[in-house]
Symmetry: C2
Subunit: 315 residues, 2 copies
């Protein structure tokens, strides 16, 4: 199987067809029609074996995560997924692996209405880069709009992926919840469901890829403000409370939940709109003038956060 | 230097600013304004150390080539460059390397009016993926439009990059032209100058990345036709005639010249328009009903091409 037959067999049909794809895979480049009243949102993320996922990760899970982390970025801007390109570097052409990978990719692409339109396949260390483009009819939700007094929300449980990674690396004993933690690590669900509602109310939004404190700090810096957080309001696996090691939830990373800020006056409405879709979100604190303070709970006993930082390459 | 300061120092300003970039590097994704009367052209290419370039290649040359091969794809569609995203995987953060890389990238980006709007930086094997987007006001020039009787052109000398690679790999003795061959290998010039004129006349176009015969075959398949080529009309370094090893020019690859087909009635006009810009192109053959025949010259002595194929990963 050569490069061209590989692309034809596994990638030519990936995601439902879209009217705005004038030409997909098969020429020097793809050709796309834009909408007159929408702007584009573009993101790109790479996953590399042993850097972003353990070698034991299945082809299906790798494909899922490679697309999910890009969809998560589109969600964080309030955009609707449209097209993506895939660059796949593979040590060798393994048909079972490619079949699992492409089926998983197609499943998620179809789920979110995003179409594979092009890319590149070559022989090399296992690495997957996806560039995804979304559409935006309204204003984007940036990191820079948080206002004093806004409430800070997260869209789901934090820390499970980091627990799974620690268990896989034998830094933590596996417990009965290992499988569900591993699912959080390998099969993150991009929160486009949350984003599509919250984008009408949020003043700032980010997706949590590098850990809550580090990512929230991006909002605080961009918005020139501070925050107070309440640990007992942050949803997390029980195990974290048991081992009392809160770095998993504060700086563990790989959560791919959304963190967003909402002005007091919209809180009732946004919660009701989300509940109508059976989506729960968690009010974990407030935007303040400056600094970042973590309280254990409403008794306002502070916790030291100086040792918690988000994940950084070359850090 | 961590990931964020690295991006800020080396990549936040890359390429001239553009009015249609509403938001560049620094949020979850970039935000772009589209034009009402143009469609988009999107391509993505990866370069990996030891797969696409030798380890001895300089940071500046790697950056140049990574962007050039994408610009070459945009040229092959008749598009005008607009935006690009960069995913850079680096074994370690070396400031000299990053400085050379980013300066070279910025130089070419500025030259072609394309702006870096986002991407990803991580620690891993040396690998560069660029996704580039161009604008198209007219129709795209596809691979599928070649017609019986069209003349086949190439935009410049073929085979020099393949000679350089063979010399670097000690498969061929270096000669006095080695430096210029190496320049062809490391610093390919995307032929946007040719494309911007030819796009108004060409029925089909492709950029030559995998070798003349293999890439021309993509046009022939897509257009359901054949071709006859005349070896003595193909521009190539003298060395190839001396060693009489024509695989360098027929299937060597890495040329990044354009190959395009033009109907007889437009030939005079397209040549004049190109000459007015001091651009020479080379009429190397004609589109036929079927098959692919290579003649030595006008005496129509045929040459065996069965051993010449374009480069294919996993081939």
């Amino acid at each position: 199987m050569n490069e061209f037959s590989l692309i034809k067999q596994y990638f030519t049909q990936c995601g439902e067809s879209r009217d705005d794809v004038l030409l997909g895979i098969g020429d020097d480049a793809a050709l796309l029609q834009t909408q007159p009243n929408s702007s584009l949102v573009m993101t790109m993320d790479t996953l590399i074996e042993e850097v972003h996922f353990p070698s034991s990760t299945s082809a299906a899970d790798i494909a899922h995560k490679a697309l999910a982390v890009n969809l998560s970025d589109l969600a964080a801007m309030g955009a609707t997924p449209a097209w993506f390109l895939l660059s796949l570097s593979l040590p060798h052409s393994n048909e079972d692996w490619l079949s699992s990978f492409s089926q998983s990719l197609a499943r998620q692409a179809t789920q979110y209405g995003i179409k594979l339109i092009g890319g590149d396949t070559c022989k090399g260390p296992l690495s997957i880069t996806i560039q995804a483009t979304g559409m935006l009819e309204n204003k984007a939700v940036l990191r820079s709009g948080a206002q004093l007094g806004d409430h800070i929300f997260v869209s789901g449980t934090l820390g499970a992926a980091a627990l799974a990674l620690a268990m896989l690396q034998n830094k933590l004993d596996k417990n009965d919840d290992f499988e569900s933690f591993q699912q959080a690590l390998n099969l993150p669900q991009p929160r486009l469901d949350v984003s599509q509602i919250v984008k009408h109310y949020a003043t700032a939004m980010i997706d949590l890829s590098d850990g809550l404190l580090g990512d929230l700090e991006h909002i605080l810096k961009a918005s020139d403000c501070g925050a107070e957080l309440f640990l007992d309001r942050i949803p997390m696996p029980n195990l974290i409370h048991q081992i009392k090691d809160y770095h998993y939830v504060l700086s563990g990373g790989d959560d791919y939940e959304l963190c967003f800020t909402v002005p007091e006056r919209y809180i009732k409405e946004v919660k009701q709109s989300l509940l109508a879709q059976k989506i729960a979100v968690f009010d974990i604190g407030n935007i303040t003038q400056s600094g970042l303070t973590l309280y254990k709970g409403n008794d306002k006993q502070t916790m030291d956060i100086s040792t918690h930082q988000g994940f950084q390459h070359f850090g």
